[in-house]
Amino acid sequence: MRVLLIEDDPMIGKSLARSLRAQDMSVDWTRNGLEGEEALSVGGHALVLLDLGLPGKHGLEVLKSIRAAGNRVPVLIITAREAVDERVAGLELGADDYIVKPFDVRELVARMHAVLRRHEGRAGSIMETGETTLDLASHELSYRGNRVILPSREFALMRALMERPGTILAKRHLEEQLYGWGEEVESNAVDVLIHSIRKKFEKDIIRNIRGAGWMVVKVGP
């Protein structure tokens, strides 16, 4: 996979290029907006990592002009600004996602894959959060390299949890998601399902918060 990195800071650029190459990606690295645009006009990149604070031409300007030229290449913005306005502006100008400095390479790579999947139209078939991936078609759940195809109740439970990663879901909420109105629900039905999933993987695939409910973690630890 060929990636275009537009980043002016030599330290970040060098380390990031090295990290991505270690992930078997080929990286073209340009240090300012104008060079970046030039590289983009040649094309052939699967994804663009765009820093916003660029000399010469601001990242948002670069984004604007490539989208204006009809280039649909996926763009992931790298920014040090937590300011919501700038992020919203980036997304409105057609960026696919953003990541705030400082970040871990693992998180960046996960986001890159997610952007690519969405771009290729595969997004609808796979749910991914942190180290957990759920294939909606095959019902296959994978966690830390372990893959198991789940029975339908367990799959439905996992899907309910992964639809809102990082959110604590109460038992009652999960029951409502899993069982129809007329169905008789055993009081410990959800607990049994969770116990079963945990047994197949590791205990911390589903986190319990005493007195509140269950959740799956949003970003890998």
């Binding site: 330290m11 400095k101 400082p102």
Partner: protein, 434 residues
């Protein structure tokens, strides 16, 4: 300290006393001069009109002060005294005709001698009479001033009291100002003479505000500028991980930990710069408090479970609050993070959310080491930490950020040591109006 009232009273009294004294002296002098002229003319007239016989003084009106009586003496050409109005008083015949001062019977006299061909008539009057007239005149001049002095005290005291009352009101207004208030002090109702002082204070407020803003911006910008090198550092550490020996990897994880700590500190400095004394009002959104706290717990659950801490929610009664969800999330995240940091492995953290007397109350109770009592009053200050560095990681900024956010929202946050067992209870009390 100089008192405006006392200084005014003292100087006014001195001035009035001087004016009074001058009035007394001048009145005395003038009155004496006038009396001299008048009485000398009187003596002269009487001497001219003395007949051959003198009346008996005893028949004169008795109610008259005997001191006021004139002594009239008549001598013949040979110098023998023929008659006298007061035989008991013997004023010698003056050698020169006309006016003269004499002394007799232990008193001073003013005499006029009229020398005629066969006799000489001498009319004398006590000097004391003249002094008395002058003294009376002086007293009359001084009396109003003696009355004015206490009156002036009353009036000046009242006026200055009224003025200083306004100054006291002004002082209370100024004392009630927050450090972040950049409104100028209104000069209304303040004496005109104080206006330059207020103007100077207002200029100073603007200058201080600018300096404060500059400092806050600097901290924010500096923290922000640190993010890029920190990102690079962390990327480089990650790059190294796959390429070194097992022993070196342990050291590298220490290095990675250091980089993470630096990142946390940078984030905290940014938060501090954003919230502490920032003039902008926080956003006001309707927030489901249980939802917000649960989200914060969700964010920290990995950290807690890694330490095998049982982090749970004991009470969760619904209630809405108003405020910025972003800032309040930071507030609860910091409190929960503190609880996790200070609670040893296998400890318990209980969170309860319920309505209290004034509004919703959130309590975060841990089973950590607690806070030394002498540190409690300062625990919200920057860089004050409950544990020695090295025992528990942290920057000492977390609670300062909590305080800054709480102040902006009008929320009360208290930290107390548990009564039973060890640990801290952090209590966040919302006000219904807030």
């Amino acid at each position: 300290m100089t008192s405006l009232r006392n200084a005014t009273l003292v100087w006014l009294t001195v001035l009035l006393t001087l004016v009074g004294a001058a009035a007394v002296v001048i009145s005395y002098e003038f009155a004496q001069g006038e009396a001299n002229d008048l009485l000398d003319t009187l003596l002269h007239q009487i001497a001219l009109n003395v007949g051959p016989r003198l009346g008996t003084p005893g028949t004169l009106a008795h109610e008259h002060d005997p001191e006021d009586e004139l002594v009239i003496q008549i001598w013949n050409a040979n110098g023998e005294r023929l008659q006298t109005s007061h035989p008991e008083i013997d004023i010698p015949q003056q050698t020169e005709a006309g006016f003269a001062n004499a002394r007799a019977g232990g008193e001073d006299w003013r005499s006029y001698r009229l020398a005629e061909a066969d006799r000489s008539v001498q009319v004398s009057q006590r000097m004391a009479v003249r002094h008395e007239i002058a003294e009376h005149a002086a007293l009359h001049a001084a009396a109003p001033i003696l009355v004015i002095i206490p009156l002036a005290w009353l009036v000046v005291g009242w006026v200055i009291g009224k003025m200083s009352g306004r100054l006291t009101t002004l002082a209370q207004t100024i004392a009630a100002r927050g450090t972040d208030s950049n409104n100028s002090i209104p000069p209304d109702g303040v004496p005109k003479e104080i206006t330059p002082l207020i103007n100077a204070m207002n200029t100073l407020i603007v200058r201080l505000q600018t300096a404060l803003d500059g400092q806050r911006r600097f901290v924010g910008d500096a923290a922000h500028a640190l993010k890029t090198p920190l990102t690079a550092l962390r990327l480089q550490i990650e790059n190294l991980e796959g390429q070194i020996t097992e022993t070196a990897r342990t050291r590298l994880s220490d290095l990675a930990m250091g980089a993470r700590r630096a990142t946390t500190l940078v984030d905290q400095l940014l938060a501090m710069a954003r919230y502490d004394g920032a003039p902008e009002e926080p956003q006001r959104e309707q927030i489901e408090l249980v939802e917000l706290v649960k989200n914060c717990v969700a964010d920290q659950i990995v950290l807690a479970q890694r330490k095998e801490i049982d982090l749970g929610i004991t009470d969760q009664e619904n209630g809405t609050i108003q405020g910025s969800s972003k800032e309040l999330r930071t507030l609860f995240a910091n409190l929960i993070d503190n609880a996790i940091c200070y609670t040893p492995s296998k400890g318990t953290i209980d969170i309860s959310i319920r309505p209290g007397g004034t509004g919703m109350v959130v309590e975060i109770a841990d089973t950590g080491c607690g806070i030394p009592e002498d540190l409690l009053p300062r625990i919200f200050d920057r860089f004050v930490r409950a544990a020695a560095s090295g025992v528990v990681e942290g920057s000492g900024l977390g609670l300062a950020i909590v305080k800054a956010i709480a102040d902006r929202h009008g929320i009360r946050v208290t930290l107390t040591n548990r009564q039973e067992g060890t640990g801290v209870i952090a209590r966040v009390v919302f006000r219904n109006s807030s």
